[in-house]
Every structure is written in C-alpha cells, then in structure tokens.
C-alpha cells in the first residue's frame, strides 16, 4: 500500500476504517497495521483486563476485550457451600458495592424460600443501596477523569466523599468495603445509635460536593472536547446487546429496574430517571451526576421515615437454610446495571445451580463498537465510562 492510497482513505472515513482486502485475505498484518496488547497490567484498565487493539496509526480498527485474569470460581464455590456462606463471597464480586451485591443475592434467596422482609429492614436496604450508589458513582467519575488526564484532583475529591460513606458502612456493618450485611429476610444487625444522624449529615452535605465537582468539570472545555461525541452507543445497539444501568440510560432508553420491577419499597420514593441524549462519554458522566442527585431524593425521605421494628424475619433460618426445590431470579438496579442472581434449589443446603448476571461483563461486550475509529486515548476513557469492576467481570 503506498502513501497515496492511504491518505484519502484516512481523511474520508476514519470511523469506518476496515482491514484492507489484502490483510483480511491472509489474516496477517503486513506492517501497515499495528497490533497492541493493552493490559492486563495497564493503569487505565481498572484491574487486570486486556484489550487486544489493532491500530492504523493512532486509530483503532479492531478491539478485542480479553478477561478472565481474575477468575475465582465464585459460582462453582457457591454451589458447593451453604446459602449463608455465599453472602461474603458476593461482597467480592463488585467490591465497590458490596451492599447491593448482598441485596441482590438475598432477594433471590428470599424469592426461593418465600421469606418476608420487615419494614425497617426494607428501609435499611434502600438506604444502604443508595449510599452505595453515591459512593460508586462518585469514585467512578473520579476514575473517569483520571483516565482523561486530570491527574487525580477530582479523584481525590471523590474519594474524600466516598470515605464518609465508607465510614458509615464501617460503623454499621464492621467493614468498609466487604460489608456482608444483608441476610435472608432482613439485615444482620440493627443501626447503631446515632447512625441515622450521621447518615443525614452525609446526605445533606453531599450536594455541596456535587456542585463543587460540577464546577470543576462539567463546563470544562478540555473535558467537553475529550468526551463529547466519543464512544457513542446507539440506542438500538444498547438494547440489542442487553446493556443495562447508566450506560443504557445515557443512550436514552428509559429502563430502571427500581421503576420497572419495584423491588423493595422503591415505589414509595419520588425520584426520576435521568436519561441521556447522545449516548457518548459526556452523557454518561452527566447521567451519573444526575443519578446521584436523584439518589439523594430517595435517601432524604428514607432516613426521615424509617420505622422502628424488627430487622429480620424471625422465621428466616440463616444457617442450614433448605429452600423447597425450585428456581428463582432476583434482580436489582445495582449502580453498574442489572445485577441478578439465578438460583436453582434441589432442596438441599446448597444451591444446585448458582449463576450471577454481572452488569459489568455484559456492558463490556459492546466495547469494540464504541471504540472503532477512535484513538487509543479515547478507548481508555470509553472503557472508563463503562464502569467495570473486574471482580465482577471475571467472578
């Protein structure tokens, strides 16, 4: 290929750049294209994740996500152990949001065993899940900005806020990240004295952080130039690839499991579902900011109205739980998307089949479609905006 034929091709259709016929015939690269293995130990990949990228100059013509470096056999371990002993393992799926992981698992076991959750426990679950969403989105935006090259300032501000929420989790459950807090038919321990006031304080101070964060970034010209029009995910593709969570809503599809499924007591809270318009990285950034503001609207009434009462169904057996034979699928709107647990019981103490529907993994499948035609630096922020945690991708 001489330089004459390459010039116009690059100028005309950079987004649709395909392998030349010669390359695709032989399946080999002839020197015009460069194959780069990004990762698995690359700071931009949020863990041990690898992207096999084929580059034409700076443009990506092919991208293959490679994962499995953090595979821990979670599902098979859970099939060999009791229902209770799987809860601490679910903490380690998406290790930013152990509270929502616990909830999703407990929800499916409750469906399987037919357990009821007391009112107070439902409130606690909503509060912990929304706090979890706040700290997940805050730290994700920090990471995303770090990927864009802000060199840590927004990340440090986000982590300062995340720290306050982790302190709440620690005083509630004993652990900052591996909470292991929800139980079948309720929660493990009651709120310690003064916890609600501390949580109210965090919630009332959070908008100040959001305003600060937005001042810092939302109208920043560099952020806009880097992220607008980059990594566009069309509506149809998002639906076809079963993308869920903020990724899907940033593409303009109104689908929030808190609204669609009304699990827990979410129908009691007045919150709206923010939607994106373009489906690019900037929309995903903006959508998460708006989702945090909506989460605060859930938290305020929840912290105000939480009733007294038991926190766990007294009939619920934690150790040696033997649900009747059957199957159940429990799903919740985790901060990263639809997190579901599919369980089949054969009547024994451990599940016959245990399957996780991980939002990170499924949201990752359209990475190539979003990155084609963009530069490597753009691929990094597109990956950052997908919001993956490798603990959940590989399990």
């Amino acid at each position: 290929m001489n330089s004459d034929s390459l010039g116009p091709a690059l100028a005309d259709t950079p987004a649709k750049f395909q392998l030349t016929p010669k390359d695709s015939d032989t399946g080999e690269l002839d020197g015009d294209l460069l194959e780069v293995s990004m990762g698995p130990h690359h700071p931009s990949t949020h863990g041990v994740f690898r992207m096999d990228v084929v580059l034409d100059g700076e443009r990506i013509v092919k991208l293959k996500p490679v994962f499995g470096y953090l595979h821990r056999n979670h599902e098979k371990i859970a099939e060999g152990t009791s229902y209770l002993a799987s809860i601490p393992y679910t903490d380690r799926l998406d290790y930013f949001n152990s509270m929502t992981n616990n909830w999703a698992y407990c929800l499916s076991v409750e469906k399987l065993a037919g357990l009821q959750v007391p009112e107070r426990a439902e409130y606690i679950r909503v509060i912990t899940a929304e706090l979890s969403r706040l700290q997940n989105h805050a730290s994700l935006l920090g990471f995303l900005m770090h990927d864009m090259g802000t060199m840590g300032t927004p990340l440090m501000y986000a982590f300062r806020e995340r720290e306050k929420i982790l302190d709440l989790f620690e005083s509630l459950s004993g652990s900052r990240m591996m909470c292991n807090y929800h139980r079948f038919g309720g929660c493990r321990v009651d709120l310690p004295p003064g916890w609600l006031d501390a949580a109210k304080k965090v919630v009332t101070e959070f908008p100040r952080f959001l305003d600060e964060f937005e001042n810092l970034l939302t109208t920043n010209e560099i952020v806009m130039a880097r992220s607008q029009g980059v990594g566009v995910l069309p509506k149809e593709l998002a639906v076809n690839a079963s993308v869920t969570g903020p990724m899907l809503r940033a593409s303009g599809v109104n689908y929030d499991i808190r609204k669609v499924d009304c699990y827990g007591i979410y129908e009691r809270f007045p919150f709206r579902v923010p939607l994106g318009d373009h489906g690019d990285v900037y929309d995903r950034y903006m959508l998460r900011i708006l989702e945090m503001r909506e989460s605060l609207k859930i938290l305020e009434p929840a912290l105000r109205d939480i009733p007294d009462g038991p926190i766990v169904d007294p009939k619920a057996k934690q150790r040696g739980l033997k649900p009747k034979p059957g199957e159940a699928y429990g799903r919740i709107e985790a901060p990263k998307g639809e997190l579901g647990f599919y369980l089949i019981s054969d009547g024994s103490t451990n599940p016959y089949r245990y399957r996780v529907r991980p939002p990170s993994l499924i949201n990752l499948t359209i990475l190539e479609d979003m990155c084609l035609g963009h530069t490597v630096a753009d691929a990094v922020i597109v990956l950052g905006s997908v919001d993956i945690v490798l603990g959940e991708v590989d399990r």
């Binding site: 005083s171 004993g174 970034l217």
Partner: protein
Amino acid sequence: MLGTGIIKGLVETARNFTGSYHDPARLTTVQYPEEKHPLPENARNFPFLVHDGDDPEKGLRCVACLICEKECPPQCIYIVAERDEKGKVIRHPKLFDIDISVCMSCQICLEVCPFDAIKMDTEFELSKHGRFEDLLLHKQQLAKSNDYYRQIHPTEAAEVDARLAEAKAKQTAKVTPAKPVGQASSLSQSQSPAAPPAPAVPA
C-alpha cells in the same frame, strides 16, 4: 467564552487548597502512625476466642462443636476436639487454629456459634515476618479474655453477658426441680457439674 470552564474549575481547586489550611471539612487526612482515626464499635478484623476468668486454657467457651469449621466460607478454621483417656470426646478444643492469611473477616463463624465463644477482634496492625507460620494462629494466640471483649465491643459484650446469664439462670432452674424437694434451695451450683457445661459467666 472559551476557557471560562477551566477558570471556574481552577477557582474550585484554589478554594480547596486554601481551605485545607483552615477548614477541617477539606483536610480529612491524619498522620497515620502518630494519629489514628478511632475505630467504630462494630469494627471487625479477625476472629478470636473468648475465655472467662484468668486461665486462657480452662476458661475457653469453645466446646469444639465444629459448627464454625463447617460454616466458614474459605475454610480457614481447623479444630480437633480433646479426648479423655478412654477416647471419649470432651467438650473442649485440643487444637483450634485459624489461618488468618485465608480468613476473609466475614464473621460468619461468629454468627453461627451457639456458645458466643468466637468474636471479632479489632486489631489491624498485624504485619509479621513469617509468611505462613506466623499467620497461622493457634489456640494460645487466639484466646483473649472476656474483659478484652468488653473493652473493644462494649455494647455487644453487654448483650452477650446478659444472654449467657439468662441461659445459666434457666439451666439452674431446670436442674433444681430434679433434686429432692427439701434440698432444692440448699444445693449450690457447684454441686451440679454433671450438667452439660454451659459457658461460665463471671459474676
């Protein structure tokens, strides 16, 4: 105008920078080894065994029932029950090891223990030289007094003490009617050691 967004952001950074000199909300770090954040009462790290009284061996509440060993998700507990001369199992652990390099601090052992014998410690500065042998804690290292437990988890320990005292009261009430009627009140507790060894509660 191009650049206003950046200037707005820089103002925010400057506010945080100057704020870090006088505003505690903007300076949240502490100088770790010298200063420490206080731990919340519920904090947990690795399990330990509670013993009553002064003797860490005799006072152990653990009866080697192996429930925690079976329920432990990463299988990091290893227990061997003590046997008497005839080979009969005594309700006391001969070996109780926890491999804290495997333990994931989930406190399932604590939840399933029917005797309140295992509790969570809060100590976290545990770096050791030996990678394997120093991280395998034996009964001797794991045994800590009930006073220590009261000190690190006051509320929880008070609940546990009350629960155990109640259980003991019930048991003595159960034992008492079995005695001949006239002597019931005069019998002291020390005369009924044949009953299943309920965890002793310090007065």
